[in-house]
């Protein structure tokens, strides 16, 4: 049980700054997910907590103790890797017991701890097997078991499900969530999969190019993205964007698209001036074919050129101003494209961003 604090933590590889100074507090027992596209620095951040990557400047504290110069073994953390990193020459039991043996625990205590972890993870019948004789899912359970037996202050997961097939990934996701409930330990979890991030995290840190974009709960990230990057990254298919300008008339402000067709009143909290470039964002699930459930709507029609059916619903794709956009519809509405269709935007669900800085303006 421990909180982890980043104070102005930065990391450089040579002259390249891969992590810009980060301030972050991971609360005790929190499940924090680091998410972002590949190369954004999320794994580096995790490895800095583990001590596998040195930090260039700043302080990392675990449980109020500065750990900058502590080797990994003295940080009381355990880590689960994407490629499992099990010792190939040891059985599952030996893999789980190895760290305890090095810490000179008695055989009976080790046996008790490994058996307990094996029971929780339902891997009792695998204990005599070597990693080579196990499937990916089984190996990942052993790797998680190796972390559990240590009873660490902080669990670190580095894309643990990326090597598993979709079905197994879904199952393991649920298991990790229930494990967190049971163990009540601080977990830091790295993933590039936003479904994992949204379903597992108490809070999510969205990273891009070594910069923290937003730290918030999954719902807040979805409802109130702090900038265009977060808006585009969270949600699948990604949010639709429409370029336009800010029109200020007396006390009222409006978003107006470049063709002057769409005009929507907005709150200008950041005090931008008349004519400033603004981007309007709307998620595919907030464009409707039936206006009856929406209070204030904007109607438009578009030519659907492509559809993706997912069974019960699906996505229709159309172009506006040379850019592709998508909308979520029921499967019945997705007949053979191309076809012309009328759509309705829910004004309350629109997001507005400063096109230059990318920051949210409403």
């Amino acid at each position: 049980m421990a909180k982890v604090v980043f104070e102005e933590v930065a990391k450089k590889f040579g002259k390249v700054e891969v992590i810009k100074p980060v301030n972050l507090e991971i609360k005790d027992k929190e499940f924090l997910v680091l998410v972002g596209p590949s190369g954004c620095g999320k794994s580096t951040m995790l490895r800095m907590i583990a001590g596998l990557e040195e930090i260039t400047s700043g302080l990392i504290k675990i449980d109020d103790k500065i750990v900058n110069d502590l080797p990994p073994k003295d940080r009381d953390i355990a880590i689960v890797f994407q490629n499992y990193a099990l010792y190939p020459h040891m059985t599952a039991y030996e893999n789980m017991a190895f760290g305890l043996k090095i810490r000179k625990m008695s055989k009976s205590v080790i046996h008790q701890k490994v058996s307990e972890a094996a029971r929780i993870l339902e891997i009792e019948d695998l204990l005599d097997r070597k990693p080579k004789a196990m499937s990916g899912g089984q190996r990942q359970r052993i790797a998680i078991g190796r972390a559990i037996v240590r009873d660490p202050k902080v669990f670190l997961f580095d894309e643990p499900l990326s090597n598993l097939d979709a079905q197994l990934r879904g199952q393991m996701r649920l298991e990790i969530a229930s494990l967190h409930k049971r163990l009540k330990t601080t977990i830091v979890y790295v993933t590039h999969d936003q479904v994992e991030a949204m379903t597992l995290g108490d809070r999510i840190v969205v990273l891009n190019k070594g910069i923290v974009q937003q730290v918030d709960t999954p719902q807040q990230l979805y409802k109130h993205p702090a900038n265009i990057f977060v808006a585009g990254f969270i949600g699948s298919p990604k949010m639709n964007f429409l370029e336009g300008i800010l029109v200020v008339e007396k006390e009222h402000c409006f978003f107006q698209d470049l063709d002057g067709v769409v005009r929507v009143p907005i709150e200008n909290k950041t005090g931008l001036v008349n004519g400033h470039k603004i981007t309007c964002g709307v998620r595919p699930e907030h464009i409707f074919s039936d206006p009856s459930k929406i209070k204030t709507t904007i109607k438009f029609s578009a030519k659907v050129t492509w559809v993706e059916l997912l069974g019960h619903d699906g996505f229709a794709f159309f172009e506006i101003g040379g850019k592709q956009h998508s909308v979520r519809l029921y499967a019945e509405e997705l007949s053979n494209p191309p076809f012309e269709k009328a759509f309705f935007l829910d004004i309350e669900k629109l997001h507005f961003f400063d096109s230059e800085s990318g920051m949210a303006v409403d």
Partner: protein, 273 residues
Amino acid sequence: MNLGPKKFLLYAILIIASLTFLYPFYWMILASVTPEENIGKLVFSPQGLTLSHYKDMIVKIPIWSALFNSVLVASLSTFGVLVFGSMTGYALAKMRFKGRNLLFFAIIFTMTLPFQITLIPNYILMVNFKWVDTLTALIVPALNSAFAILLFRQAFMTIPDDLIHAAKVDGCGELRIIFQVLWPNIIPSIITVAILTFMTSWNDVLWPLIVIREEGLMTMPQLVTLFAVGGRAEAQLGVKLASAVLLALPIIIAFIFLQKYFIQSMASSGIKT
């Protein structure tokens, strides 16, 4: 078995080639147990049987102390090369430090230098250390080798970094990582290095001839060479060959048992799996 003409030719060439390698060994072993007067007539079939050459050899030269010296020197240098070679190879493969590649290239460069070039400086060093006529002069310079470093580095590079990270988090220091976590996963490379180092040390004549003069400290090949060409065998071919058999035997036995590992490792070293 139905052999086509192509295959037949292939087998014929291979059999002839292997005979040219095997025949001298066959002849040597056979001659060492053939009475002296019959050795000249020896081609394929045995011409009588005697163990007198071996008895004579034991009387004439301190073969048992030479055997002990050879085993001691070869074992200690092999042990040293395995330990220090893997430590160096690990550092070059998995640790990040300035000048790592430069250091590696420098080590590889030393492999291109013939031993004869460094012979005299090495000898002077031994004289200055006062190691001449001690087994230390045979063991210490052989405790690490560029070839072993190269082979270990390549073997360690095939191991994912995360395995080492996992070991660090589990509480291992670098030495435990090398010997307890990584070694069990590169056994073929270890065996290759061990065989080649042992064999090189076992067969070495030149260096012992230069730094060892006392008969009781001589190694087998040194003693056998001096015996065979130094006149003490009194021009008796059988005795010379008996000592040669005794010299070759340990390496031949080692190869028979370990050739599988040897071929495996030679085939896999340098190829990332």
